[in-house]
Amino acid sequence: MQATAANHAWRKIKSALVSALAFVSAILVIAPLGLVFFYLVKSGASSVNWDFFTQLPKPVGVVGGGMANAIAGSFELLGLAAMIGVPIGVLGGVYLAEYGSTRTNSLLRFIADVLNGVPSITWGVVVYGLVVLRFKGFSAYAGGLALGFMMVPLIMRTTEEVLLLVPNGYREAALALGVSRWKTIVHIVMKTASKGIVTGILLALARVAGETAPLLFTAFGNRFWNHSLSEPIAALPLQIFSYAISPYEDWHRQAWAGALVLVIMIFFINVLVRFLTRDRMANPT
């Protein structure tokens, strides 16, 4: 009895210790986000103004100007990337989830997982070799392609996962109505999983929106408005990078502002994702 009581006390102490440790770890997870946000706001908020969104960068030495071209460029690049990454990724995910034998599927999954782990600069180098060198010039196309390549395995795996979450009963019900396989997949399975698929696409976009490395040798950056997608184009991460490593105080401030805008953009994409997935949280299908 005595021993049990002592045991009991010791158990309580252990329990308290572990709880405390877990709590500290949780703080350590949240703290960097808070710090990053706090620092970005402190250093960048003052430079986020109307000009920042509407003006081109001013020449060296001239105070003011903005990143309008980079913001627009980022959206253009993301659009191009989506045009490549979304169809290939989604169809690949459909193949994995609905067709394909166990062997090809495990091979495909393995490849997709390896591709997800490839450092982003590798994509830049590959597209540099495949496109930039061949067509003798940096271009928006090359940048979009590099980001698109990155999106493919991301979208493929998330699409596969959400399609596999669709209960088999729906496929059977549709097939039992005499509906063909592909119509069942498009109209029943993908429709049921549509929110999940869109979520996967948004998360992939958010992931590549902040990428700098693949754009260095592809989109290259541009201090002016881009007039053709076959020309170099500016992007927020690129602009932040080049401003941040410059020696000018004003550019540093603009780089902070750009980083803040980028983080807020990604933050909003994530909020949108949460909004889209709220039903699934409440009612697991």
Binding site: G169, E172, L177, G178
Partner: protein, 281 residues
């Protein structure tokens, strides 16, 4: 089993349409809906059905009973080729549907399934669709665009499924908003909207409460005037309540098939007797 020449089929269909006979007096029906002979099915190397021969008469309710894993669901699914969805299945023997071989090389599973509908154990209305969309989706995806026809089928199917009065004001509400029993009747409405000739039911009431179960049973009884119904059930009382004939399956074999009255009052086989009176194990 002599394969009926295709030329004979319209007259047979005509005769079938005329006969509104009570389902229990099916002996006189000219052509059984299903003539299954020496059917065996394997999943990989594992035999699921062995050498089953059975004739399922038209416009009757046939119940299939047997312990779990006896092959009754597999048998049901092979009647509209749904078992093919499981990879590595192999089939031997013949299944004739109104005289035509379901498994002949020219037979298309999607056409087969349009004519032989199915209702599942778990009610599964499509979650993204309204009540109305759920009912007509089969028609829409099979290319029916005519609004009037769709509306007509919507109402008819819901009426036949005894659901119209309960949902007629909520047709735009999601199918998932209905109660469990209503969802199952919605699934039955969805199945009959494509106007099949047969309804296969895989434990259609096993997830429902007793009142909802009775409503579904009543519906099955009503539907038997128009459809040939084959129902798999774990519930022997249900089989004896709703069916005209009962087939007892045990470890992949058809042990006994006969009038439900006979099977439940005086089965001929000892295995059947032991199973239905609860003497197994």
């Amino acid at each position: 089993m002599i394969e009926t020449p295709a030329a004979l089929r319209p007259s047979v269909a005509h005769e079938r349409a005329k006969s509104i006979m009570p389902s229990s007096e099916s002996n006189t029906t000219p052509l059984p809906t299903f003539e299954v002979s020496n059917l065996s099915i394997w999943y990989g190397e594992k035999p699921a059905i062995q050498d089953v021969t059975i004739n399922i008469p038209s416009k009757t309710i046939t119940a299939i009973i047997g312990p779990s894993g006896c092959g009754k669901s597999t048998f049901l699914r092979c009647l509209n080729r749904m078992h093919e969805l499981i990879p590595r299945t192999r089939i031997e023997g013949k299944v004739l549907f109104q005289g035509q071989d379901l498994y002949s090389p020219g037979s298309d599973p999607t056409v087969v399934r349009r004519r032989i509908g199915m209702v599942f154990q778990k009610s599964n209305p499509f979650p993204t669709m309204s009540i109305a969309e759920n009912v007509v989706i089969g028609l829409k995806l099979n290319g029916v665009r005519n609004r009037t026809l769709l509306d007509e089928r919507l109402e008819n199917s819901l009426r036949m499924a005894a659901l119209w009065d309960e949902v007629k004001d909520d047709l735009r509400k999601p199918g998932m908003s209905l109660s469990g029993g209503q969802q199952q009747r919605l699934c039955i409405a969805r199945a009959i909207a494509v106007e099949p000739e047969v309804l296969l039911m895989d434990e259609p009431a096993s997830a429902l409460d007793p009142i909802a179960t009775m409503k579904v049973e009543e519906l099955i009884h009503e539907l038997s005037a128009k459809y040939t119904i084959v129902i798999v059930t774990h519930n022997m009382q249900q089989a004896s309540r709703v069916s005209d004939r009962t087939a007892f399956f045990y470890v992949g074999k058809l042990i006994e098939f006969g009038e439900t009255t006979e099977i439940f009052a005086a089965p001929k086989e000892k295995k059947t007797e032991d199973y239905i009176t609860g003497r197994f194990g």
